[in-house]
């Protein structure tokens, strides 16, 4: 089991739900594992889905060119921290 904070678990659930990751349990996503390429192996189509889900749930608009967005999309931990910081 991965060491997740409550916020990270919430974000993991958002990811599994938005991306239909049926073979993955939210609590098993390692907060430090890469989201894209390696690790969870997400791609740009997924990035768009995630941005959409985040905008719908948190009202946050993400911009690809911003350093904060690129940083956010690194790991579950960074994505969760990004959303928390913007609340």
């Amino acid at each position: 089991m991965a060491n997740q904070s409550a916020a990270e678990l919430k974000m993991a659930e958002l990811l599994v739900d938005a991306l239909n990751l049926e073979d993955i349990t939210p609590s098993e996503i390692d907060p430090e594992a890469p989201l894209f390429g390696e690790g969870l192996g997400l791609d740009s189509i997924d990035a768009l889905e995630i941005a959409l889900a985040i905008s719908q749930r948190y009202g946050l608009q993400m911009r690809a060119e911003e350093a904060s967005t690129q940083e956010a999309f690194t790991t579950l931990k960074s994505l969760s921290a990004f959303v928390e910081a913007a609340q």
Binding site: N20, L21, E22, D23, I24, G37, E38, G41, D43, S44, I45, A47, L48, E49, A51, L52, S55, Q56, Q61, M62, R63, A64, E65, T69
Partner: protein, 472 residues
Amino acid sequence: MWRPRNSQLFIYLPYHVNTTKPMALLQRELHQPIAYLLAAIKPWGLSPGLVSVEQFLTHVFRVAAVLPDRRYAINLCENRYLFMVAFCAVIVKRGTNLLPPNKNSATQARLQEIYQDIYILHDGIEVLGSAAAICLLTTPLPLAGAPVHIPDVDPRHLAAISFTSGSTGDSTPVLKYWQTLAASAVINRNAMLGELEGTLYQLATVPAQHMWGLETSVLLPLFAQVCVAETKPLFPQDIIDTLVKLPQPAMLVTTPVHLRSLVATVVTVPLSYIFCATSPLTPQLALQAERHFSAELREIYGCSEVGSMAVRRTAAQEHWQRFSAIQFTQGKTGVATVSAEHLTDQVILQDDICLINQDQFTLGGRTGDMVNIAGKRGSVQEVNKVLLSFTGVIDGVVFMPQPQGATTRLAAMVVLADTVSTDKLRQYFRQHLDSAFIPRPILQVDRLPREESGKLPQTKLLAYYERLKNGQ
């Protein structure tokens, strides 16, 4: 509003396949804008703003001067302006652009293996393989030489090879001769835009390497008064931010995947045109998009082999209207064929077409084994072959779960050897497949529900998949 001095520019002339008369690289006036840069291209001394046809041609010749004497150029430029310059420079140097369907290491390596006389053109990405690579941003360009002119191109010149956005490296090459590209650009201009009285500014969200992106964001600006932005935004806020900066009138060239997230945003900008293609668009989404942007949305039907062929106003029409230069015929078996003067061959369509009359048709699903995932077309059998080529797989099958939604991916059911994990299989997939075709989920089972004969009927497989999902 600017009016064309030479109205002949906007008259469509039918071409015969075996023409030898040289054709111009572009049909524009030198002073007209062809690109709008959102960001500076510092190594080229370009500030944000308009780039004229004349400046563009200068860049084309300067880049052509530094290209190696090799036949094939894999054009991997991400910046659309640099792609366009590189594309034309390769043609001017009598080379052939290779337009790979993805940037996988396996694809790159395979292309270099097949087209040995090869080099890579890019604008700063990580390049794999042994072929010579030229970064347009770091290679010094010679000073501009003689006054710029619009070069002629032999119509029989092989300007590009497009690869059907297949699932694996060996997708079918589609040969694009200059005559076909130039003629189709004029056809598209007439069918999509008609006579333009001034410059139309374009933002496209699709890669230039994909035929839809090539036709709209590269060829259209060469043959119509279209001025294209160099960026390729993904997120809706970035798309809106860019559209706000573009001069008016503006057009958006995009796909249903992008539209879905765009209509969910609060902010909007007025547009003059929206063109959408690559995967099926629902009338509901089309209507939402039209309302959101106060613009008419036209959906274009096309394929890599032919290019764009038909159009419909999805919010209002179910029927597709063929481009007048393209003929559709349907045989007794239901197979649809497309022909046109500028195409070297007739093309059999992969889709289920139902001709209503000579000019209109409706679209069914896909025939056979091809699937469309977020605008990319691929073969399930090909992905299956990749799965079964992985040494840890004892048995396995790849399939498309039903019903298929806008972003539904292939799924895989596998029986793995004790020594391997699904993670290892995923890594293997990443090396060999376009990310859109990597199966997800990968369900590990003890046995596939095969019949005694060894066959695995689709209905049985899907039913088993449903039971597995519900059991979890």
